[in-house]
């Protein structure tokens, strides 16, 4: 390469200026979504300087945590070229069953010191059970995961509403949750929120599983080519079941945090965030066709969505404007990422 007036010419004779090289480096960086987030903050800051206030940043960070956990679960399912539409219904069902156990007004273990623990066990058991149901139907009965999880989403959404109506006079939610459980939502230890501790453990565990474990390698193999994986000795069906079970488990953990924050078991918990979960994973680089995904990418996707949402909330815009702007911003990010991958694949 030779330099001429600040521009570099490569061996083919093409000129690459420093700004272009910087732009290229940014566009093809694995931190592109993070750069989008920072750019968005910079763009909106003149209108709502509160977006960078310490309290607002703390609020955004806390909002990110349960969504990130649920998105990791979905990432695992997407990596094996499947989808889980029932994530939010798992949250709702787990939430109302858990609340019915520990509620201090008529709960099955009302007043007992074991109530929160029993409720948490119930949350997790429901997540695992529904996840297993989804996995078995998909892997062993050969049903499309879209259909399976769509029907379990509908069934358990309805079941959650029915369950709530039979366990409360108001019919809309189950309140009076014990203070010790509610602490999980926003409480912490030595200034570190419990939700953050749980999230970090899950994120690190997922990252290590994907990058260092046999299960992680199986996930990639099944996602890229399930037939080749089967021929190579990968237990494809148990792997697929495993991802759905993990997705269900992680949805139930997210539900625990959300329920602690709402201080009530509500059958419409998470009803509106399914697209946020899927969107965060896709923006974070998880392929809908399977075979690729990174925990850090999902984190950047969740952060981006949460910051966009926060900015629009601070602006106090009408709902139509919020949807339009959010959709446009996410579409821009997703299209840029897709084009980038296409260029990278072409080399």
């Amino acid at each position: 390469m030779t330099e001429a007036s600040g521009a570099w010419t490569d061996t083919t004779g093409g000129i690459r200026s420093r700004p272009l090289r910087l732009l290229r480096r940014i566009l093809f960086s694995e931190y592109l979504v993070l750069y989008f987030t920072l750019f968005y903050i910079a763009a909106i800051w003149p209108f709502v300087p509160e977006i960078v206030s310490p309290t607002n940043l703390e609020d955004v960070f806390l909002q990110v945590l349960p969504l990130f956990i649920a998105a990791i679960g979905l990432m695992l399912v997407l990596m094996v070229a499947q989808i889980d539409l029932s994530a939010t219904s798992i949250m709702a069902m787990a939430c109302v069953v858990g609340a019915s156990i520990m509620s201090e007004q008529g709960g099955y273990l009302a007043g007992s010191a074991l109530a929160p623990l029993a409720a948490i066990a119930a949350f997790i058991a429901i997540g695992l059970a529904i996840g297993a149901l989804n996995g078995v139907c998909t892997a062993y009965f050969g049903m499309p995961s879209f259909l399976v999880t769509l029907t379990t989403m509908m069934f358990f959404s309805g079941a959650a509403i029915w369950y709530t109506a039979t366990h409360t006079d108001s019919g809309s939610s189950i309140g009076a949750l014990p203070a010790s459980f509610v602490e999980i939502g926003y409480g912490g230890i030595f200034g570190v929120p419990y939700a953050a501790i749980v999230t970090v453990v899950i994120a690190v565990g997922a990252h290590l599983a994907l990058s260092r474990s046999l299960f992680g390698r199986w996930l990639f193999a099944v996602g890229i080519n399930p037939r080749a994986a089967a021929i190579s000795g990968v237990p494809v069906k148990p792997v697929i079941v495993g991802t759905f079970v993990l997705s269900g488990f992680l949805s139930s953990i997210a539900a625990i945090i959300y329920t602690g924050r709402l201080e009530a078991g509500t059958p419409i918990l998470g009803q509106r965030i399914l697209l946020d979960i899927i969107g965060a994973a896709v923006i974070g680089g998880v392929s809908l066709f399977g075979g690729s995904g990174k925990v850090s990418g999902v984190f950047f996707g969740v952060l981006f969505l949460s910051v966009v949402d926060n900015g629009l909330q601070l602006l106090g815009l009408s709902l139509s404007a919020v949807y339009a702007i959010k959709g446009a911003v996410i579409l821009f990010a997703a299209v840029t990422d897709a084009l980038r991958h296409r260029v990278l694949e072409k080399g």
């Binding site: 939610s173 309140g175 709402l262 601070l314």
Partner: protein, 333 residues
Amino acid sequence: MIMNRRQFSKTSLAAAAVTAMPGLARAEAPKTIALMFDAFDSDFWITGNSILKAKAKENGWNTLETISNRDQNKQNDQVKAMVERKVDGIIFIPTDNNAAIPAIRTANNANVPIIFFNRPPAANSNKYVAIQADNRKIMQITVTSLIDIAKKQGGKYKACLLMGDLGDNNAVQRRDGALDILDQNKDIVELVARVATEWNADKTFAGLTNAIQAHPDVNLLISPSDSEDAIIEQVLKSAGKWHKTGEEGHVLFSGFDGDQNGYNLLSTKYMDVNGVQNLFFEVDLAYGAFKDIWAGKQPQQMLIDPGFAISQATLEAKRDDMWGYHVWKEKNK
């Protein structure tokens, strides 16, 4: 520089006035109110939002709006965003009365007054004000007026009671108000059908159709909300029971809310009575509560809109208080 005493005094006063000006400017800065809705799924809320904005403007206040799309978790996060924007007050319409309690705590911690509009929270020990229509009382007045008309006409009646989503406290109160009066008038009115509509158009249609098929002689109908009037009209037309007052086969019909459909049906004599939530009064109550709180006074925690019933006979006299009439008037200019 040498100053005499007079010059020093004048200079000090001028300096004090200049330093006090930012404080005065802050004190005169307009108030900002956050209008935080969960959804705009009926004319009641759309009109409520318009009235809230219009009256805020009359008071010289600015408004910020948020909608949570029925996501209580998102709405609780939106409260934090509005606190961050340093609003002076919050008008709050929650999705879930239990799960809204954390939002009250957020507002309390920031010393921002929070007023629940038309949907009070579940019982809790935090500081808030709730504006609520006495749905049970309004429905009692409405059904009493309807039965008075029935008594004047004479004869026996078979009633069908439509109920809203029983997860909504307003729907529960309206059902109870209707049953209170029906129970007192069993000699004239027999309740033959109860339809759980869950505020859903398809369920309203299916439920009412089934009820009329099972009881074709239903001649008194109580609706929990004017948002269901169009569906009721469809079903009654299909059953050959959609007649005006005075015509053979007219079904005594009461509505609730006081929206433009309700006004239209009253004025065209298909509906007999409507129970009206006085939206204008509720907004005045809310903004009056803000003014009291800002002045250091604590208003009552529950401020009640007693509402009223409006019938064909009282339509001209009372329609100016009916919010739906103003919407109808605007659309039919």
